[in-house]
Amino acid sequence: MKEGRPGWEAAVRIGLAAGLAVVFVSGLLALLGVSPARAFMEMASGSVGSAGKLADVLVAWVPLLLVASGLLVTFAAGLWNIGIEGQVMMGAVFTTWMLRLLQDAALPPALVLALAIGAGMLGGALWAVFAGLLKTHGGVNEIFGGLGLNFVASGLALWLIFGPWKRPGVGSMSGTEPFPEALWLPQIGALRLSGWALALGVLGIVLVGALLRGTYFGLKVKAVGRNARAAFLLGIPTTRYMLSGFALCGALAGAAGALQVTAVYHRLIPAISSGYGFLGLLVAMLSGYRALAVPFVAFFFAALNIGSIQLPIVFRLDSSLSGVLQGMLVLCVLVVHGARRRFRREAAP
């Protein structure tokens, strides 16, 4: 199973793009009167400078990894699953729902947590299949269907937080009552990182990587993604494979949402997805849709997210500058990619 061009070439491309992005951002920092070298140093030490920081980066890494893994499947099936953000939210909503249902039951916390995460995966999968059905049976492009469902999911979460699931005596958009500590995924020592979450994230990418690389299911999904018409004529039930792709991606996104509830915020908040859905799209794209690259790119984005907090603390710079860096990186990857294609075209008339 060769995925086209060799891996090192993609790595060189990403490296080149990252270099380009760094040059641009350095220029911007210099314009703002901040030493770029110091800024990057601070961001590095603020993200991987200590065990605690590294743990925080991994806390962000896990959901990004899960989301990007799921997106590898939908991308392979030729689908733009923009609804991923809503699928993360529905995962969180379903998890919260299950936890609320069972928190007073006399069940072992481990079982409750497992059921809750399972419910989250189910919620994400249902929401994704919904977007898929809109595409396959309703003729709604998955991009628009997904965007619409994102709004619905976020609206639902808000309504639940302000309404039925409000804290006693409180009406606030800031979130539901935190769950008792017994229903938190156990953390590693004093770190905020949960080993179980980490394991789930790693499992997600490994499973997806193996699925796409070595199974008939993965191969058929890829065939559908590359040429649905030919795949249909070759006897692959394309609709079913598209919906399976959606379901798998949604389940992984739902798991990310479930972990946001059980391992990070311990309650449902309006911004529970933390934007990881959209960020995951970038991660998957920048990874060149390769499972092997996803953990690294996701780690980079997570580190950027955490490390950029140093910008306002140390330099009094707005930390949205990290968004600029992310944006720059994406643009540079696209530019490098475009330049390469142009070069290829000219070299081979």
């Binding site: 911007l28 703002l32 603020g46 400078g49 200590s50 925080d56 806390v59 962000a60 991308f75 030729g78 689908l79 733009w80 991009i143 976020s154 808000l158 302000f162 309404g163 039925p164 005596g169 409180v170 009406g171 606030s172 958009m173 800031s174 935190p178 004093a190 905020r192 993604g225 915020y265 311990h266 309650r267 908040i269 309006p270 911004a271 529970i272 997805s273 933390s274 934007g275 990881y276 959209f278 799209l281 970038l282 794209m285 907090i309 140093q310 306002p312 603390i313 009094r316 710079l317 707005d318 949205s320 968004g323 600029v324 992310q326 944006g327 994406v330 643009l331 990857v333 696209l334 475009g338």
Partner: protein, 408 residues
């Protein structure tokens, strides 16, 4: 299919992920020269922008106040500490970032950070923690945790709100006062009720009107400030008030939408007013419609606790600091104040001073008979509310319109 669109979509995503392109947020002063003594770094986590002309800026200015008065004190801070603005972070995590930058004391400035603040205080017994607005250090409170490194500070804003309500009821021509409420909890209920008590006092005692003719309505937006797509839009809520016969809007939120809308209305020739909240300079946004602002002055209390943290003598405490009636606007002594606005006419100003004098003299508006909105008795005739009763006001008072608790 995916690859053909990928370039354009990636572009759209990239642009969508750029919130506010890297503006420099402060004319960053170099950290204060350590004039004397070893440096003492303290961290401040603010729920909103440090320059919001509201709640967060009041804390930021207090930090500056401490820096100026406590030799060697250095503030580091993170603002916009809320999951909407900083996805994927928690206040506890950001507090640790401040600690790794040398902070030995961290101030959490929002009720919204309560859970995270407790986590942090428990996990870091060696770091002093101040939570503005909490009750976890209050022995008589409902949620006492007994953490030795935790101090709760709150100002008795009830007085400021009474004065705000008083001014509003004097100024209103229509007898309709709107209250732009944030989220619903104990704190916001008691503050809203205080404003109502002040307003009713002015309406009945100073204007001699029938209390039934005074309409006092609260609309809650769902958070301390506008979170687009999440909360109700405060601009819209303020607009609705002014467009349905309300001519004074009191703000209970951290930002100044009520003032801005009042100025717009005044621009069309209507005689309307607003009373902002939190920050001493809030009226500057639209002085011509501002009756005044009840504000917090966190500086003196912070200075006291930081000095204790640095020099020894720190004690876990819950403080509910009142105004200094000698001069409620004394920056070094009064924890809450009321800055009069330009729209307050001289007669009203005199009346307000007279009211403040009454309060200083022991006038207790939080006294019976008072009935809750649902008809239950809150205070018997002649009974004065205890701190606990005021702090944990369970519902709005009879005579107020609006939700007491959230819910369908």
């Amino acid at each position: 299919m995916p690859r053909t669109h990928s370039a354009s979509l990636a572009l759209v995503l990239a642009v969508a992920l750029l919130p506010g392109c890297g503006k420099k947020s402060a004319p960053s002063p170099a950290p204060a020269e350590p004039s004397a003594g070893p440096p003492f770094v303290f961290g401040l986590l603010m729920v909103g922008p440090y320059n919001d002309r509201g709640w967060s800026q009041a804390h930021y200015d207090a930090g500056k106040y401490v820096e100026a008065r406590l030799p060697g004190a250095q503030m580091i801070y993170v603002d916009k500490v809320n999951p909407g603005d900083r996805p994927g972070t928690t206040p506890a995590q950001l507090a640790e970032d401040l600690v790794s930058r040398g902070a030995r004391l961290v101030i959490f400035n929002s009720d919204d950070m309560k859970d995270s603040c407790l986590d942090f205080a428990k996990a870091h017994p060696d770091i002093f923690v101040i939570h503005a607005s909490g009750d976890n250090a209050w022995k008589e409170g409902k949620d006492y945790k007994g953490l030795p490194n935790l101090v709760n500070i709150m100002g008795r804003m009830e007085y400021g709100k009474m004065m705000a309500g008083f001014a509003a009821a004097l100024a209103t021509q229509t007898g309709r006062i709107g209250y732009l409420g944030p989220l619903i909890n104990d704190e916001t209920r008691r503050l809203t009720a205080s404003a109502f008590l002040g307003a009713r006092y002015a309406w009945t005692k100073y204007r001699g009107r029938d209390p039934a003719e005074l309409m006092f309505k609260v609309t809650w937006i769902g958070f301390w400030f506008n979170l687009p797509g999440v909360t109700a839009d405060p601009t819209q809520v303020a607009d609705d008030f002014y467009n349905s016969g309300f001519d004074v809007v009191l703000s209970g939120i951290d930002t100044t939408e009520a003032l801005v809308e009042a100025r717009k209305m005044a621009g069309t020739g209507r005689k309307v007013f607003a009373v902002p909240y939190n920050y001493v300079g809030a009226c500057e946004t639209a002085p011509e419609v501002c009756l005044g602002v009840p504000y917090f002055n966190w500086g003196p209390a912070y200075l006291r606790h930081l000095r204790a943290a640095r020099e020894g003598g720190w004690q876990a405490a819950w403080e509910w600091n009142g105004p200094d009636w000698a001069d409620i606007n004394d920056p070094d002594r009064s924890a809450v104040g009321f800055a009069k606005g330009r729209a307050l006419s001289p007669e009203l100003s005199v009346a307000l001073d007279q009211f403040a004098g009454e309060l200083a003299g022991g006038l207790a508006l939080w006294s019976g008979p008072l009935t809750l909105q649902d008809g239950a008795e809150y205070l018997r005739d002649g009974e004065r509310a205890t701190d606990r009763q005021v702090w944990y006001l369970p519902r709005l008072l009879e005579g107020m319109e609006g939700q007491s608790v959230a819910g369908p």
